[in-house]
Subunit: 325 residues, 2 copies
Amino acid sequence: MKLLITGGAGFIGARLARTLLARSTLAGQRIDQLVLADQFAPPADLVADARVRAITGSLLEQCAGFAGARFDGVFHLASAVSGECELDFDLGMRSNLDSTRALLDALRKAGNTPRVVFSSSVAVFGPDPGKPLPAIVADDTLPAPQTSYGTQKLMCEHLIADMTRKGFVDGRAARLMTVTVRPGKPNAAASSFFSGVIREPLAGVEALCPVDASVSHPVLSPARTIDALIRIFEASREELNGRLALNLPALNVTVQQMLDALESVAGPKVRALVKFQRDERIAGIVANWPQGASAARAKALGLTADTSFEDIIRQYIADQKGSSP
Amino acid sequence: MKLLITGGAGFIGARLARTLLARSTLAGQRIDQLVLADQFAPPADLVADARVRAITGSLLEQCAGFAGARFDGVFHLASAVSGECELDFDLGMRSNLDSTRALLDALRKAGNTPRVVFSSSVAVFGPDPGKPLPAIVADDTLPAPQTSYGTQKLMCEHLIADMTRKGFVDGRAARLMTVTVRPGKPNAAASSFFSGVIREPLAGVEALCPVDASVSHPVLSPARTIDALIRIFEASREELNGRLALNLPALNVTVQQMLDALESVAGPKVRALVKFQRDERIAGIVANWPQGASAARAKALGLTADTSFEDIIRQYIADQKGSSP
């Protein structure tokens, strides 16, 4: 089979690619070709795999060429992140809505109804004006995004549902929780600090936490996120049992609990590297995010959250030693 | 003030225009100019009013010119209807999503945060796969459109909410119920027969009903629909008290009740002109529509549904005699 990962050179995309190549099959079929489309070149180990083809450039411009490729499956992960979409409305509309639509149009033109897993986000949820957001957002909580990023993700969820109903693609939308701990540098996502406050101290570097310790948030480790994307790809329409958008499992933790876990895994000196310095812009965005999420439908697919934040930190440390994809 | 009605030559648009011109004020301001944008020319009585300016052509092409116009308010009614969007996916995306986005972009460029009432639809609601639709859809029922038309309306609702949050426009989305009785000829809306089974018999013409008599549906008369659009335009953000999309009031009636009302107003011979001839395409679309709607938030704005379907028929007969706008 021929697969496409958009955002295939990103952290989640590259890790998903490694996992798929190591499995060598998906949904019972052998993976013959894996196309990684991204603005950047993928890591060298991926490029070295004979099954991988890397396409570098703007997704919006690449899409026209995808009609002829007739992919059997697509993981659509490419996205502008929440912080940049909030600063530049047009960038977000182009990168998230227009690119997704161009991709879906190309897949429709191919005419083979490919399976598509779209990376949506827990950011589709937000408080209704005049109403508090439920503490835990469920699969069927009424979305009310309070960011342009969340709005664009939600619009794409509905577009994918309609194009699936029409038989143009076989789509599903996985609402990613905040993936932590991400390696590398901070990015423009408003949620970036959920990784930074663990990653930087573990590297001996001071980290600033822009929100209060009491802030609660649904998170999931990279490994469980990849597992979920693959399981949701492989699920039959019957297994999905309902609408095509579903929450990924989440560990609902407070910043306080994250830092306690950091101390328990790495000691008090490491934890002391985290300083609180409120950033009103970030705190304002995060204040409109859910404090936690449930995922009954993902659970029915056998997916579960990490059992503790300590486990998530240990997974990150192991990853850094090169023992994970 | 300077107002724009898109779809301003259509049935609702022209009637809204007449009502606004007769009032001569909106939200406490004098109406100086009323621009009617439509693919077709507006009725002669509207063109004759010195305050009216008609612009004929494609909305998508007209939008660029709207940035310089600096409208104080917009009623965005132009839309491809449900039946044609279901037959031609690209037409619906262009007419409903792209045109709305181009309009909002132009209004944003104007820089004066104009008030915008968007005509959304009860078609945003549909049954979740594996779950029956609630018999009565409320303002906060989770939308799951089962038509491309409903999907496009819902995507626009979210776009307007986000652009309002960003301060680009001051938007609100009125979810129209099926407007009946519409005058004139049948159109490509799957709901067209909800007018046809009354209008045609009253004109002495046989009418075919494509669904069972037991089908229930939320309807509202033209006069109440216009009242609601105006009231929602005039509502402050505080009065809206919540999200920007809200259901219009509805009279929830079965086809049987509609025909009984026709008999009671116009006699058994008129009613006998309605024949049942099932149309699977129409019946399939209608089967995924709500059987009824509630409108708590519209009610809080003082809006109410027609008290009986007999009243709706009598209003139509009076309109035909020229006694209403």
